[in-house]
């Protein structure tokens, strides 16, 4: 069923629709393919661009962070090279108690002058192994409860022996009443020999600086940047607190194993792209962007592609409709003309044809219709001619038997010396033949026709003697009307040969003529044996049957040439005689 339906669906009844559909399919296909390909290409480029963009951003964070760390290191170097500081913490220096304070002030001034220009630095401090402490503050009141030696930045700096150490973010609690989130850079200060450690130098960077760098980053609505230290613990993460209470998790292990580079995690709406950069001080900066947000752009692209595709389709639709109509309209016109021809109008000609195959078709069609018209006319003429000649043949066709029989009868009567009968019969025969042969006109007055039939019947009556009698009653008003020649004789002949000849006793033939408003009417009635209905049926049909019936059908046809309302009607039943009614036009 479905197969049939689809087959039907593609069988269009109009060439225009077929063309439209074909064009449409073609255009649709090509538009879809090109849009799809270009969409994919641009989507890919968007994705590549955004990946590039993320790594640029992460790079930027990295650079910013590094510049902060470098600054801290530079401050460290500044401190390292400061002679006052060196002397101040050197275990070998012999500073008197009253000299300590000026030194402290000098160093403190130096630190302060550094800090003035730098808001990002929380504090600069030096802890000498000799117990001397100096900071950027005039008076450094340490938190009595914080154990400096146990702090990671202190321990690690001591362990590293002269190299700088970056701590994880922590709350710095060494100064009384101050609890600041900082990242510490610490470094052991060496004595002049470069081997012995003399103290720890500490620079604290406000963590808010790092947070600010990271929170300024825009990686879409949900994207973010986080930082891990070398051990994989979080330096900064917007969801740090949630991760700490296990409400969220981060792919720290994956990040730690990946190093600089990127990977994708999650699926569907949660698909994220991790872009990782390692800094030279061991931290990892990770940019996380949600794929579907990078594709916000992609969605816009998709949207505009969709709109443009739809627009293109609309244009294509209109175009295909227009084109197919242009192509099919001459065909349609041709079809219209052909329909007219089909209905019999051979005068049609197609005009304004295009200079192409369809135009040629149209011209050929014109020639063809012209030729058909000629042929038709020729056929009509031929037919007419044929009728005429047939008529002539018929008119000249006098049953030869009738002639032999009549002549036999004359001979027979002559032998019996029946001179009067011979004279009568011969004269009747002569008149009969004159009526048939001499007049070249197609039509004769009713009078002549009646004379003719009277002669004929007289001859027959003489031949059949007691077997045949006849009577002719005609309206005198009809005598001057004309009728085609030899209308009555075949009918009468038929009545004699098929009706009366085989009937025992006297056969009577009555011919009556009357004038009516529209036509003339003759009724030829006999009291012969009558006819079977089958015979009656094909007596009016031409071609088949005995010669006599050809005569009647021929008479009928000839009358009908004047119009369908004229012709012969036969009424007959076996044993009941036959009555033939002839309707004729009123010709003058």
């Amino acid at each position: 069923m479905i197969k049939g339906w689809t087959a039907d669906a593609f069988k269009f009844r109009s060439i225009q629709i077929s063309l439209s559909v074909a064009f449409l399919c073609l255009i649709l296909f090509s538009i879809l393919v090109t849009s799809l390909i270009s969409y994919r290409l641009s989507a890919q480029s968007v994705e590549r661009n955004s990946e590039h963009y993320i790594s640029e951003i992460v790079q930027q964070v990295n650079l910013n962070l590094q510049s902060y760390i470098n600054n801290m290191e530079n401050i460290g170097i500044l401190a390292l090279t400061n002679k006052d500081l060196k002397y101040y913490i050197e275990s070998t220096s012999f500073l008197l108690e009253e000299d300590v304070r000026p030194y402290e002030k000098k160093i403190s001034d130096l630190f302060q002058s550094i800090l003035v220009t730098r808001k990002d630095i929380a504090s600069i401090m030096v802890f000498g192994y000799n117990g001397r402490i100096v900071s950027d503050r005039r008076i450094t009141s340490l938190n009595p409860n914080s154990r400096i030696e146990e702090q990671p930045w202190y321990k690690n700096a001591k362990k590293e022996g002269g190299r700088s150490v970056i701590s994880s973010p922590h709350v710095q609690n060494i100064i009384q009443n101050e609890y600041r989130w900082v990242v510490s850079l610490s470094r052991e200060l060496k004595s002049a020999d470069g081997i012995t450690g003399e103290g720890i130098f500490l620079v604290d960077l406000n963590l808010s600086v790092i947070k600010e760098i990271c929170s300024q980053i825009n990686l879409g609505k949900r994207g973010y940047v986080f930082i891990l230290d070398s051990e994989g613990s979080i330096v900064h993460h917007p969801q740090q607190k949630l991760i700490a209470s296990n409400l969220k998790s981060e792919l720290i292990d994956e990040v730690m194993t990946t190093g600089t580079g990127s990977f994708t995690a999650g699926a569907g709406g949660g698909k994220r792209i991790y872009t990782i950069q390692e800094t030279h001080f061991g931290w990892k900066i990770v940019g996380v962007a949600y794929a579907n947000e990078l594709i916000v752009n992609q969605q816009q692209i998709r949207m505009s592609y969709l709109l443009w595709t739809v627009l293109a389709l609309v244009i294509a639709l209109i175009l295909s409709f227009y084109l197919s109509r242009r192509l099919s309209s001459p065909i349609k016109r041709l079809q219209l003309q052909m329909k007219k021809v089909e209905k019999g109008d051979f005068d049609v000609r197609t005009e304004a044809l295009p200079e192409n195959e369809i135009g040629q078709l149209g011209r050929t069609f014109n020639v063809m219709v012209g030729r058909i018209k000629e042929l038709m006319e020729q056929i009509i003429q031929n037919e007419h001619f044929k009728r005429k000649s047939e008529l002539k043949v018929l008119q000249s066709q006098i049953n030869p038997h009738f002639l032999y029989n009549t002549l036999d009868s004359i001979i027979w009567m002559a032998e019996r010396r029946k001179h009067e009968e011979v004279v009568e019969m011969t004269s009747s025969l002569a008149k009969l033949f004159r009526a048939i042969i001499n007049r070249n006109d197609e039509t004769v007055p009713v009078r002549v026709e009646l004379e003719h039939i009277t002669h004929y019947l007289s001859i027959q009556k003489m031949r059949y003697k007691d077997k045949l009698d006849f009577r002719i009653e005609a309206d005198p008003a009809m005598m001057d009307y004309k009728l085609p020649k030899i209308i009555l004789q075949p009918i009468v002949e038929n009545a004699i040969y098929h009706g009366i000849k085989n009937k025992p006793g006297l056969g009577m033939i009555r011919i009556s003529g009357s004038v009516h408003e529209q036509h003339l009417e003759f009724v030829i009635a006999d009291n012969g044996i009558g006819m079977e209905p089958e015979r009656l049926e094909h007596i009016l049909k031409p071609s088949e049957g005995p010669t006599a019936s050809i005569g009647i059908s021929n008479v009928n046809e000839r009358i009908r040439l004047f119009g369908g309302e004229y012709g012969i009607r036969i009424k007959s039943a076996p044993g009941d005689g036959t009555e033939v009614t002839v309707l004729l036009p009123k010709l003058t």
Binding site: P144, W181, S245, L306, L307
Partner: protein, 328 residues
């Protein structure tokens, strides 16, 4: 030919409709959730309240992450119930789809909460319940559990000898304090070594607590533990204990973490303090609201766990985050 023109028009109309439909659907799809608004009225927007600032921070992070629209308001003072009621009205006028409320005075907010419920917005209460509120979810610290934790932290596992413990609380008896006390008493009842000598009220000021502690220490010379139900109680008690040189001998346990309490922890006067997680509360409140808007049935009560801080774990990574919220 006229039929051709008609079908051409039909075609054009069809194409135009298709275009409009595509455009409309797409715009609608893009708009989507964006229309859903969550109104938040906090107990206070005072920037000196670290607790509520942290709650707010959690909310903002959640809103960013879940891509929902939130609008946060709240009175400047955390006791301004009238101001809060007015703000609830103003927020409701904007026809939010969900409403998150941290009540100033639960008893006085009943009517306002009923208005919220009547507006059809999903109601999420945070920090404190409101009588008759029946919110979609209450996101709050389980203070009774916090009390239990505090009670347990009073007793070290090695403790064998029975010792006396008292609780110090003020007269206001906020629901939080009430719950804390209940949790404490439960914990003490389960711990045989604790000889609970009851809850003792003080005037409400630090000095009152100081005086009351002195009286307690006089009254119960063998008192070895004090629980302060609020900051004033703790700081006052600590002062009395330090003055008498009893630091370390009389264990002091408290709730929440002001800078003074942290210093007391550092110096060892304060044994332990049980802190809440306001960031989580804020985050989970917005997450719950967003889920409710998506039609998810919420747990009527979402407990935010409390956390014990002692001198030893004071500076661990996670606890630093809790105690020293880094707010902009």
């Amino acid at each position: 030919m006229s039929s051709g023109k008609r079908s051409l028009t039909a075609l054009l109309l069809l194409a135009l409709t298709a275009l409009l439909v595509v455009y409309g659907v797409d715009t609608l799809r893009l708009a989507g959730d964006r229309d859903k608004k969550i109104a938040v009225v906090l107990k206070t927007t005072d920037i000196r309240s670290e607790y509520w600032r942290t709650v707010r921070e959690g909310m903002e992070l959640a809103a960013k992450e879940l891509d929902v629209d939130i609008e946060i308001t709240g009175p400047l003072s955390d006791t301004d119930a009238d101001g809060q009621i007015r703000m609830i009205g103003e927020a409701l006028a904007k026809k939010p789809d969900a409403f998150v409320l941290g009540a100033t005075d639960p008893l006085r907010l009943e009517d306002a909460v009923r208005d919220v419920k009547r507006s059809g917005a999903k109601l999420i209460l945070i920090d404190a319940d409101v009588p008759g509120g029946q919110p979609a979810s209450l996101v709050a610290t389980d203070h009774a559990e916090a009390g239990r934790i505090a009670g347990k932290s009073m007793v070290s596992p090695l403790e064998k000898a029975t010792f006396q413990v008292a609780v110090l609380g003020d007269r206001t008896r906020t629901p939080a304090q009430h719950e804390r006390l209940r949790g404490l008493e439960e914990a003490f009842a389960e711990t045989p070594v604790v000889d609970y000598v009851g809850m003792h009220e003080f005037g409400g000021q630090e000095d009152d607590a100081y005086v009351r502690t002195g009286m307690l220490l006089d009254q119960f010379p063998d008192l070895r533990g004090i629980v302060g139900l609020n900051e004033q109680a703790t700081v006052g008690a600590a002062k009395a204990i330090k003055e008498r040189g009893l630091s370390g001998r009389v264990k002091l346990v408290s709730f929440d973490s002001s800078i003074y309490e942290i210093k007391l922890l550092e110096e060892g006067t304060l044994q332990a303090t049980v802190v809440q997680k306001p960031f989580n509360m804020g985050y989970l409140a917005i997450e719950s609201a967003a889920r409710a808007l998506r039609g998810v049935k919420l747990d009527p009560r979402l407990n935010i766990e409390a956390h014990v801080i002692t001198k030893d774990n004071l500076y661990t990574q996670g606890n630093q985050e809790l105690l020293f919220p880094l707010v902009d």
